[in-house]
Symmetry: C2
Subunit: 192 residues, 2 copies
DNA sequence: TCGATTGTCTAGCGGTGCTAGGATCGAATC
DNA sequence: GATTCGATCCTAGCACCGCTAGACAATCGA
């Protein structure tokens, strides 16, 4: 029995290696460079091994996305818990969100830009994604304002953050004014 | 001389055909289905002909994006000019923007999600893109509020719209509440 | 020790974007 | 009108992609 357990441990370890390597490669050279051949070479196995862990490249992207969602939730909660007062908290949340997207562009892409085969806004949405949204909701729900549904408000605020993150990174928005846009966003959207 | 002119006309016509066909194919089956082979087959020429008009697939996407930007600018101006009063105008603008993105998902992707090799937020940004932003600025500039730079405000509002458009279409936001999110966005961001 | 099972690899399929080089066609010249 | 010659277009092929069938070796249970 212990032999089987060891094998399962090794297998799980290799799966983590695949996901970590895919993420690393994507952050270094972009997702276009993450081909099954290169990925296989980096983990020092042949290509078909990848398919014994994942159905295909899409699922690998999905795995990176889930890992990213867990990290993002942690990052957001850490940022908000260190702030007191609604306004400071919301600003810290927004900065943390945009900072995460900027520091982990490939992970952010896996979560929101690429097709990782994940369900969203659905009952069978994976837990890490629901939790990341939950982290937003915890802080934003209390500044939604009277008569405004907290979930709806969070969705809008999130969309604004997402727009800022993607447009800034794609070079569509000048990056110098990022901080001023955040302040304006918090000032206007949040009811303080 | 007239022979040469005829040839140039034919050449220009074929170039328009390529762009229109690429757009059509992308709207019908998604950008993944727009391969150089399929595109060549549809226009009834061989693959290399595409490369005598464009450097590569990226430039074709870019051409669709520019065409889309011109259309979007027209759409936005038409929507706002039919509305009187700042509030009505801003709401009409937001609805028109999201409607355009919903009706032309492939074109919207070409403009903002895919790499069309276009410059942004730059001095050598193509005119149609600057003009589309200008169409936003015309309406949004007058509701930026005192002491807020109109351009900065427009960037923020645009980012929010972009976030709503992309997250909604990717299934990340429930599409039923779209209208309520627009109203909340206008209520909060615009200074009326 | 031997058969069965599991795990991994080599090789290859049909597809991609892109290009070199030859064929063809039409315009200009004699 | 025949002939040259340059522009135009196509066939064929490159290297790479995601993915998989089938051979092979290592390991396990009897």
């Amino acid at each position: 029995m212990s032999v089987q357990e060891r094998k399962e441990r090794e297998r799980a370890g290799r799966e983590r290696l695949i996901v970590a390597t895919a993420r690393e490669l994507a952050e270094q050279q972009g997702w276009d460079a993450v081909t099954t051949r290169r990925l296989a070479e980096r983990i020092e196995y042949s290509q078909p091994v990848l398919y014994s862990h994942f159905r295909g490249k899409r699922e690998i992207i999905g795995a990176v996305a889930l890992e990213g969602a867990t990290e993002m939730a942690t990052t957001l909660r850490a940022a908000t818990s260190a702030a007191d007062g609604p306004r400071t908290r919301v600003t810290a949340l927004a900065r943390a969100y945009l900072g995460f997207a900027e520091r982990n562009p490939a992970v952010y892409d896996a979560m929101f830009q690429l097709d990782g085969g994940l369900a969203f806004a659905d009952e069978d949405t994976p837990e890490p994604l629901k939790d990341a949204f939950g982290a937003l909701l915890e802080t934003l729900g209390e500044v939604a304002g009277d008569g405004v549904h907290p979930g709806l408000f969070t969705e809008l605020f999130w969309a604004a953050l997402h727009g800022l993150a993607t447009l800034t990174r794609a070079g569509r928005l000048p990056s110098g004014d990022a901080e001023r846009r955040v302040e304006l966003l918090v000032d206007r959207l949040a009811m303080l």
